[in-house]
Amino acid sequence: MSVREFNLDEIRKDFPILAQQVHGRKLVFLDSAASAQKPRAVIDAMVHVMEAQYANVHRGLHWMSERTSDAYEAARDKVAAFLNAQAREEIVFTRNATESINLVAYTHGRTALRPGDAVVVSEMEHHANLVPWQMLRDAHGVELRIAKITDSGEIDWESLEAQFADGKVKLLAITHMSNVLGSYTPAERLVAFAHARGAKVLLDGCQAIVHRAVDVQALDVDFYVFSGHKLYGPTGIGVLYAKRELLDAMPPFMAGGEMIESVSYQRTKWAQPPHRFEAGTPAIVETIGLGAAIDYVQALGFEAIAAHERALTEHGLKVLAGIEDLRVLGAAQDRGGVLSFTMPDAHAHDIATLLDRQGIAVRAGHHCAEPLMGRMGVTATARASFALYTTREEIDALGAGLLRIRQMFK
């Protein structure tokens, strides 16, 4: 429920960096899928902790520590409500989504999965949701299977069926939205499909969480991960949601302070989740910053954010379609504002450098998804990605810049 009107001019004023100039031009930031800019509310919340209310958490008996612990744990409540988790104990704070996935691979992966079991990922995973499973395969003897995608960048259900046919699959680890193709995956259907075949599901929500409301109970998903920095929050803070009974059964990922109940030289008793998985002093300031970021997007509401971004995506696709020979990768029915493209003769890096001189920031390269590049028959793409603060005019500037580049390279 939004408590604030979606007024783009006002919203842009919330993000101080958007007033910056690059190479003497107004910054046009179209790289939010890599990391989003931060609203004043997040910056202020973090400064406030350090200026007025800072101490280590869960340790001191003094006033400052208690207040800081409260603020830190309040962020956990915010995340739990944001994801509609059943309990706050289901929210584990990590450094980023990468760490969240590694945590699941090392703990759940090495205890709940047995040699001979299989893990399925799709062809459109970020390396963060591929390499940890490869390492689990090599260390623990599970099989890693790759489910195909269609040319339009959607799940190939026939391929998925085939991967599950022998009943060995115990985990489906799959993106909720591709960081290259912009495709959303049908999370609810995937979860039902995997559960019906005896497998748990991990959704990589790094991209999806920024653009739509996620309800982990409605999805019935087992693990959900995301990073704070793409959700207008700070770096250094990530989230792992996992169903309570799964966390209960998982051994710690890292050992040290905070994750124990009692320690002697003979025996150490682990703490209950989520603290079992939060060894050492956590990212206190960043966690509180993430809480502020969640407050910020919730005040605007995903209904309004999604409507704005849907219009941007439609406009972006139209603008790109107007540029001769430009190829947009993927054409999923359900797609968001992440547009990857190539141009004949102009390499992605040339495109990015030339746009940068006009103040337009896009990403170029393989986007940490090398196997997907191979699948789509390219080595690199340029990628423009949209956020809640992106304007139509910025997309028009991208279009004008690309037209000029097309002429140069023709």
Partner: protein
């Protein structure tokens, strides 16, 4: 409009990336070297023939392709140790942005110094050449 970037993407660079003069795998060569940039998938193969004949096969961005071609031109008829010295001088130009009158057309790439992430593109063909020269020494 794009005046500054056109300094980097100037006519000589665009020309040589679109229609390189020294591209193609020769029928005979004495050694070859590879350069690969994992970040963007750029790949270049450099072929060296005794007497200072260098050819390239470049697959990648305009900067890398033009650099390979201008390199082949600059090292023509040079000895391996002269080529190595040229590499050092060239790397100085693309990292400092200061042209070196002795380097001729290679100075067209001086503008790359402004784009830290692109210096790799300009120097990649020289990495491949160095590999070829090393191989040439071992077998020659």
């Amino acid at each position: 409009m794009m005046s500054e970037s056109q300094e980097l993407y100037q006519a000589l660079i665009m020309e040589r990336s679109k229609a390189p003069h020294f591209a193609g795998r020769p029928e005979a060569f004495d050694a070859q070297g590879q350069g690969e940039n994992a970040m963007c998938g750029d790949r270049v193969q450099v072929f060296w023939q005794r007497g200072g004949v260098v050819r390239h096969e470049a697959h990648g961005c305009a900067i890398m392709t033009a650099s390979a071609d201008l390199m082949a031109q600059a090292v023509a008829e040079k000895t391996p140790s002269q080529m190595t010295a040229l590499r050092g001088a060239f790397e100085e130009v693309v990292t400092s942005g200061r042209e070196n009158p002795a380097l001729g057309d290679l100075n067209a790439l001086a503008g790359v110094a402004q784009y830290r992430s692109r210096i790799r593109c300009a120097t990649l063909p020289w990495v491949a050449l160095a590999e070829a020269l090393k191989e040439g020494q071992v077998h020659g």
